[in-house]
């Protein structure tokens, strides 16, 4: 029988302290207030003074409330019954269904031994050319979507979730707006994917601390399924809210902030979650896609900045499109050599030309005369944006590559593209060439 304490010494922010003995670090406690019961986690031990962060927040906590230590750290259930279910950030059902208490597993478990990791080789096709052609998504990759409020990032997540070839989807919502959450749910339901999904949802209306647990819950469950051989896609939205919760607790604990109020261990905190992405040799894999909204569209803000250093690339979602610049899949080299031999050349060549297009566009907007070369680039840029970048484009990789060659051939002579001669010989569309030359004369 665990001991019960009835004297709360201090309440500051969402952290309370009690005097207690024999308490383990990161142990859970249950606090009973007039508002009901809430879980709390030990975050500091100093002599017999125990600091706890209260998941439901400290509002309404009175100094004589009952604190009961549970003798174990945070756990979550793991079972096939969880498929199609929706839970809160404390791991209890929020869909009115029965509670699942069988097979409890600890969350935030140890890190995978790098010696047991394997080089990821499986491309996850999404039929979005900006991903498949230019920044291929790879099984066991961790990728954030950098975006700003108002952009359709959750729609993009849902679309990838529906189209990606994975066994199951685990959604972790942190500070998610209620309607966003409902939309997400409905989208997966319409797509027939709800039955292979598990949701851990913390909405903007829920207590802040509860959101802190969501990534760990989602990833702990994902890890177990992956060990059983499942290809799991974990979607987290929005990790900036997660970082903000960390900040709130750190400030309450009077930690020295490092950058814009965020704690010095923000990098390690984020890394310990993202690094759960893994391809288990002989079993399944975890792929993580996480939305990170950039406050003020500033990529140097500590949250996107630290995230970028941890993740294997990033997608920038701006103006409803995945930006070719800045967007990067670090693992693409692992898979795009074996798709088609022109894949890499098209990927690099088209982006280099698009960069030049942007320069020409800038010159034009400043009122400079356009040289014939600029005109070619402008034509190219427009075709590229409508034929490749637009998010409504939904075509398989091979078709996208063909389209790439066709766009190039409509605008340039082969030697202007910087592509290797042998590839040009093989892939340059013969039919468009005449048309292109006649246009060049016109220009």
């Amino acid at each position: 029988m665990r001991k019960v304490y009835n004297k709360v010494l201090s309440v500051a922010g969402n952290v309370i302290t009690v005097k207690a003995e024999g308490v383990g670090y990161e142990e859970l406690a249950e606090i009973t207030t007039r508002r009901g019961k809430s879980l709390a986690q030990v975050i500091k031990l100093d002599g017999d003074i125990v600091s706890l962060q209260v998941f439901a927040g400290s509002r309404g906590v009175s100094t004589s409330d009952e604190v009961r230590f549970l003798g174990h750290p945070m756990q979550v259930a793991f079972s096939d019954d969880m498929l199609g279910r929706i839970f809160t950030g404390s791991g209890v059902p929020r869909d009115g269904g029965p509670e699942i208490t069988e097979n409890l597993i600890p969350i935030a478990g140890p890190s995978v031994n790098p010696a047991k990791r394997i080089i990821p080789k499986r491309m996850i096709r999404t039929n979005i050319p900006m991903i498949d052609v230019f920044n291929s998504l790879v099984g066991s990759q961790k990728l954030p979507i950098f975006s700003v409020s108002g952009e359709p990032y959750n729609e993009l997540l849902a679309r990838i979730a529906l189209q990606a070839e994975v066994d199951m989807i685990i959604l972790g919502g942190i500070g998610l707006k209620f309607d966003e959450y409902m939309r997400f749910r409905n989208r997966l339901e319409e797509g027939g994917a709800l039955g292979r999904s598990i949701f851990f949802i913390h909405t903007a209306a829920d207590p802040v601390v509860e959101g802190l647990m969501v990534p760990d819950l989602a990833l702990a469950v994902a890890e177990k399924f992956a060990l059983q051989g499942k290809e799991v896609l974990v979607l987290l939205t929005d990790m900036t809210n997660f970082a903000d919760s960390l900040k709130e607790i750190a400030i309450t604990m009077e930690q020295v902030p490092s950058n814009r109020g965020y704690p010095g261990d923000l990098y390690s905190q984020l890394a310990s979650r993202y690094e759960k992405a893994v391809d288990f040799e002989g079993a399944g894999a975890i792929t993580i896609l996480a939305v990170t909204t950039m406050p003020g569209d500033d990529v140097t803000h500590p949250v996107p900045d630290n995230t970028g250093y941890i993740t294997e690339g990033q997608f920038y979602l701006r103006n409803g499109r995945i930006e070719p610049f800045g967007s990067l899949s670090r693992l693409k080299q692992q898979v795009n050599a074996d798709t088609r031999k022109d894949h890499r050349a098209i990927m690099d060549g088209m982006i280099q030309l698009y960069a030049q297009y942007l320069e020409s566009q800038e010159k034009r907007s400043m009122g400079f005369r356009m040289s014939p070369w600029d005109e070619k680039l402008l034509k190219y840029g427009n075709l590229f944006e409508s034929g490749m970048m637009d998010l409504s484009v939904n075509i398989p990789l091979e078709e996208a590559l063909e389209r790439g060659w066709s766009i190039l051939a409509q605008c340039f002579k082969p030697e202007e593209t910087g592509l290797r001669s042998e590839l040009v010989k093989e892939f340059w569309p013969k039919t468009v060439k005449a048309e292109e030359e006649s246009e060049a004369v016109e220009a």
């Binding site: 003995e21 024999g22 383990g24 670090y25 990161e26 500091k44 031990l45 100093d46 017999d48 750290p73 478990g109 140890p110 890190s111 995978v112 031994n113 790098p114 010696a115 047991k116 990791r117 394997i118 080089i119 990821p120 066991s140 930690q255 020295v256 490092s258 950058n259 704690p263 010095g264 261990d265 990098y267 390690s268 890394a271 690094e275 288990f280 990529v299 140097t300 803000h301 900045d305 970028g308 250093y309 941890i310 294997e312 990033q314 670090r330 693992l331 080299q333 050599a337 280099q352 960069a355 800038e362 010159k363 400079f368 005369r369 014939p372 070369w373 030697e415 910087g418 290797r420 001669s421």
Partner: protein, 576 residues
């Protein structure tokens, strides 16, 4: 020595407050005992009867009142034959063996022997009665393609006389190999392994000398423009996605050194896994042996315990110093030193030290300087030379070089390879900025050629800036040609395709040869009737040159392509 014990009185993250009685040493190792688990930790501050310890593992479940056993030993690693080809965590735990014993996940509180049970063929070099000092050679064993010297432990102070030494034969690292008699008459038994505290530099050599010889990386922009010297230091700061790690990976493959030590410090696990899995398969053309045989990997990736991350950099450096003592050229690649600095910052915060800039501790600069100062070219006791070159990546917050870690690093390194977002966005790899980077070491290419080509880069950049304002039509044809020449030079020389078999590594000879060809092009006066024809010409030339880059050095095809290039130049050059 009686064992010191203490009791935990506080836990905050990975830092413990421990009450003790008796004597405690700064940086000594203590073990936190919880049931069967013994968690390694290090004393980092002592105050009255309280010691502050950083725990190298997760502190989950530890409680106030738990016991800590102090060892009296500083944090050390084991040195001896059998280190090459290994993969360790930051505390020298062999990761593959750990995986074999414990599966997918890293268990807490497990410590394995880093050197193993293997027997080595020992040949004595010293004789009974010889007088030796720290770092002197007693004998050797063959380890992969190297002669691994068995030396007098580096912490032996003064002169010792060899009382006995084993004959040629097979021994394990624990067998006695020699006995020495010390200055005060005491006898020491030596085996092939000994330990060294990682945070102290090894100084068992005659003197340090100025590094002047180039360390060839076979990356053109580095060797030609921002060279690194054997025994020198350099840093690679850059925002995320600019290609720091890829550049380190290329260097670890192609650099012309004996031994490469890769410290994956707080970075992505996936990246080091590539190296771990690929190196054993890759053959080093210079030796005909697997690359892994000249490599040691220290993998303390971002989700592994933070305190061990702090230690990992020191572990790697100590290993580098050890092999340098054998007269070898060692290259240490640390990726990333910022994560190491952040580990110090986390710790400093928990110690409630007064923070410096961006909450980094005030001693950040001196720690960084100490680290890079452990590099160097040395003259050994026997007159031979060995070198340790250190290259560290820096991951500045927001890609802004005006931050404490980058600035502190720039003060102490010999070369700066600054990666920029602008270049990586334009897919100009390696994204080393050719105008901002610098090196204090000497290039393999004649200085005059460098001066001329640099001038073109600078002028080209000026013209480009100007064109942004006045447009192409406002630029003179001459200026425009300068711009085209600099762009051409950038595309065919500074940029290098890391994923092409041939282009990924350019030998020094080929670099010199190419640079002369480029110099010729840059200094040739061309005559074009307008900008369009100029552009077409240079794009044509670029295409031919890039194709040339992909062709094997000195092959027939290589010569054929060169003729085509020459013809193209001749056809358009103006002969006054």
């Amino acid at each position: 020595m009686t064992q010191q014990r203490g009791t935990i009185t506080g836990i905050n993250g990975n830092m413990l407050t421990v009450e003790f009685e008796g004597t405690i040493t700064q940086n000594e190792v203590g073990y936190t005992v919880r049931g069967d688990e013994r968690l390694k930790s290090e004393v980092i501050r002592i105050q009255d009867n309280r010691a502050f310890l950083q725990v190298f593992e997760s502190t989950k479940g530890l409680a106030v009142g738990d016991t800590v056993e102090f060892t009296g030993e500083l944090l050390s690693i084991q040195l001896g034959p059998g280190l090459l080809g290994q993969i360790f965590d930051g505390l020298q735990n062999p990761l593959p063996e750990l995986a074999e014993a414990h599966g997918f996940f890293l268990p807490r509180g497990v410590i394995l022997d880093p050197l193993g049970e293997r027997r080595w063929q020992f040949t004595p070099d010293a004789r009974k009665g010889d007088v030796v000092r720290a770092g002197d050679v007693l004998g050797s064993v063959p380890e992969t393609q190297f002669t691994h010297r068995i030396m007098v432990p580096f912490d032996f102070q003064g002169e010792f006389t060899i009382e006995s030494i084993q004959d040629e034969g097979e021994y394990s690292v624990r067998d006695e190999i020699a006995t020495l008699k010390g200055p005060r008459g005491q006898t020491h038994s030596l085996s092939m392994q000994f330990s060294w505290p990682v945070k102290l530099p090894v100084r068992a050599y005659r003197e340090k000398i100025l590094p002047t010889e180039p360390l060839v990386t076979r990356v053109r922009i580095i060797d030609t423009f921002f060279p690194v010297a054997r025994g020198g230091t350099y840093c690679i700061p850059g925002p995320f996605g600019a290609g720091k790690t890829v550049l380190q990976q290329i260097t670890s493959r192609y650099a012309e050194v004996d031994i490469v030590i890769i410290a994956a410090c707080g970075e992505r696990a996936g990246e080091i896994v590539e190296t771990m899995r690929e190196f054993p398969e890759l053959i080093d053309p210079r030796t005909g042996r697997s690359l892994m045989e000249r490599t040691i990997i220290i993998a303390n990736t971002s989700s592994m315990p933070v305190a061990a991350r702090e230690a990992s950099v020191y572990t790697a450096t100590t290993l580098g110093e050890y092999y340098r003592q054998m007269g070898l050229d060692v290259l240490l690649l640390a990726d990333s030193t910022s994560r190491w600095a952040q580990a110090m910052r986390e710790l400093s915060g928990r110690l409630e030290e007064i923070p410096g800039e961006e909450a980094f501790p005030a001693y950040l600069e001196s720690r960084i300087a100490e680290f890079y100062e452990r590099a160097g070219l040395i003259q050994l006791n026997d007159g031979g030379q060995g070198s340790l070159t250190i290259g560290g990546t820096v991951s500045p917050a927001g890609g802004n070089f005006e931050e404490p870690v980058t600035q502190a690093t720039l003060k102490v390194v010999g070369a700066f390879h600054g990666l920029t977002r602008a270049r990586s966005d334009a897919r100009r790899y390696p994204a080393i900025d050719p105008l901002d980077s610098w090196s204090k070491y000497e290039s393999i290419v004649p200085a005059e050629t460098i001066r001329i080509s640099r001038e073109f880069l600078e002028k080209g950049s000026d013209v480009r800036q100007m064109m942004m304002v006045v447009g192409e039509e406002g630029t003179s044809l001459d200026d425009f040609i300068v711009y085209l020449k600099s762009e051409f030079f950038d595309a065919v020389y500074l940029q290098q395709n890391a994923f092409d078999k041939v282009d990924a590594a350019t030998s020094p000879d080929r670099q010199k040869y190419k640079m002369e060809k480029i110099r010729e092009i840059l200094t040739t006066t061309f005559h074009f009737k307008d900008k369009e024809t100029a552009r077409t010409f240079f794009y044509d030339l670029r295409q031919k040159f890039i194709d040339w880059n992909y062709i094997e050095w000195k092959s027939d095809e290589f010569k054929k392509q060169e003729k085509e290039i020459d013809a193209l130049i001749k056809g358009n050059a103006e002969h006054a």
